[in-house]
Symmetry: C2
Subunit: 356 residues, 2 copies
């Protein structure tokens, strides 16, 4: 949905790469993450400093083929290697629907999916995945398992902690923080994610995972992401020669417009409801607003058992609450689809309520 | 080492990509491999038809983040899902040193490394990885486990089955065939590999693995690889406007020069020896020559126990035969390093023998 912004940028974000460039596996043999392009590392750090959403000073940057690969790298790095049983991996429901599959698809002996963090009470080591703002419901999250000293490790998935989706209330400073270009800039096809990792050994083991899994990360994607992230930082300069709109203001306006439209349609309905988000001050924007999450977590009323099934009958494809470890009265709807798709969805949704 | 070729190509292989292009996860939602760029699929098929090294007619193309990811995708796809015990994965020694680690690093319950295929005699299902030409020793290989009907699955790793390394004696036609841009063109930094897969369900399951693991493969890398592979096919046209050298002739000449130099140094030595490769007719080149593998599999004489250790004392870094499941009298040496590195290696190697 941010394509219009990138079209307006014209040549400023065009990447040119000659046939003889970036042939090697290595980007910087001296770096702990030896396949990380120095330009990307620089662009990542500059963007976090510009937005103020995460500390970068003492953390190591590890690049991944999207944040999916980094989640697996983090599980690998944080699993105790001396335990006979796999470590439990939990996340508070509703949780990102891919977590169970990503954790269990290879039946690893290192880690296993153990479900909703709210109800987790087994002894022994565990890893809690904390998504904040949360996918699917957009809520700011903290770890929920009562931390048993030395037993729990946390991975913070911060894919949506950017000003177009939510207010930036502080620069977060966790042990393992995951970000991805696809949610920040819209460049999902590039498959570029990055982790900010406090502990050197954890960063080294995550790097090792990516080395074994894919021997590094596409150089072309890294260099392009560096250019795109750099352009975003440039667009945020308060003074200076930039003739381009501030990317986050632009994309936040788009998100707010979509949420306004959806809330208007839902308000006229006697079937659906949406979460309410508090007004919160954003340090980056310098004003207060409510969140505009990348997904709408919509609930239907008591007369409908299975909201996903009900909507499919009206030609609206969503993802059922069941997939997120919760009830089928909820569905997740993308708020970052292309204009045509979003408008068609709104049109179909409004038809339902007039007949409802 | 093929960088000089790509420099000569100038602008012909330059990729330009605008900021608003390739934003989506999808490349072609109708394709079984939905993240495969149609241009890359076309370029892959055209190159195999041009070189004549593999059939492409009925096979499905699955793109991966290098062939490492495709090996894991193949293990995932070929593991029986209804077995309580992990399937045995074997390869004939000397085998590619990464196979054991790639198979076992997550302690998967689906598959486990079972060592040298020559000595494998357990009952039950197995997967044999057949590397041909073989890494590390450059020999053309066939499966060695006596096939028990319905129990064994084969994965052919054909990374080095290109005319600069070995004679193309036929278009191979196996169930699962893996290739990678890094060995064919030298673009290791792009992390682009592809599988040619006969069975639709296997191709679908490999695609599923890549979906869970990394949600597809870098679009930038795919588009650049399409351009590079296309330029190679163009360079092979016997007539027409191409003013560029045939890529495979050019790179074969480079490989042959390096092998001649190494053989000359080794011949003067009373310490080392190299494998001999038979003269074989190449359908692509239209003449006979011996192989020029990407690695030299060098052996030291009986007075030296550990060849890798011995060479390290002379500032030559190799990979010990132990890593490939065989004896420490062998080492693997890269024949595709950069010119400076290769020349330094030759220089140091020749110093040893004069003093030896």
């Amino acid at each position: 949905m941010f394509e219009s912004y990138w079209r307006k940028m014209g040549d400023k974000c065009t990447m040119v790469i000659a046939g003889y460039e970036s042939l090697s596996y290595f980007a910087d043999a001296k770096n702990l993450c030896w396949f990380l392009e120095p330009k990307l590392e620089e662009a990542v750090k500059r963007l976090h400093l510009t937005v103020g959403n995460a500390v970068v000073g003492d953390h190591h940057v590890v690049v991944g083929t999207g944040s999916s690969q980094l989640i697996q790298a983090a599980l690998y790095a944080l699993s105790p290697s001396d335990e006979p049983e796999p470590v439990s991996v939990v996340s508070a429901a509703p949780y990102y629907s891919s977590y169970p599959e990503v954790t269990d698809f290879l039946r690893s002996g290192l880690y296993k999916w153990a479900g909703d963090a709210h109800t987790f009470d087994a002894d022994g080591p565990y890893i809690e995945l904390v998504t904040s703002p949360n996918n699917p419901d957009g809520v700011m999250r903290e770890a929920v398992v009562v931390n048993r000293p030395g037993q729990g490790k946390l991975v913070h998935d911060l894919a949506y902690y950017w000003p177009q989706y939510t207010s930036i209330s502080r620069a977060v400073d966790f042990d393992v923080m995951l970000f991805t270009a696809s949610k920040c800039t819209g460049h999902a096809g590039s498959r570029i994610g990055w982790a900010l990792v406090r502990d050197k050994d954890v960063a080294r083991k995550m790097t090792k995972f990516i080395e074994i899994n894919t021997i590094g990360v596409s150089k072309e994607s890294q260099l392009r992401a560096a250019k795109i992230l750099g352009a975003i930082s440039d667009s945020c300069l308060p003074f200076g020669p930039s003739k381009y709109d501030n990317f986050f203001e632009y994309s936040k306006t788009l998100m707010a417009e979509r949420w306004d439209k959806l809330r208007a349609v839902v308000k006229r309905s006697n079937i659906f409801s949406l979460p309410k988000y508090p007004n919160q001050y954003c340090l980056f924007a310098g004003d207060s607003s409510e969140a505009h999450p990348a997904f709408a977590w919509m609930k239907c009323n008591d007369r409908i058992e299975d909201c996903d099934k009900f909507l499919r009958e009206h030609k609206i494809v969503t993802r059922s609450g069941r997939r997120f470890g919760t009830d089928p009265k909820h569905v997740r709807i993308s708020m970052v689809s292309r204009d045509e798709e979003f408008n068609l969805f709104l049109q179909r949704l409004s038809t339902i309520q007039w007949s409802g």
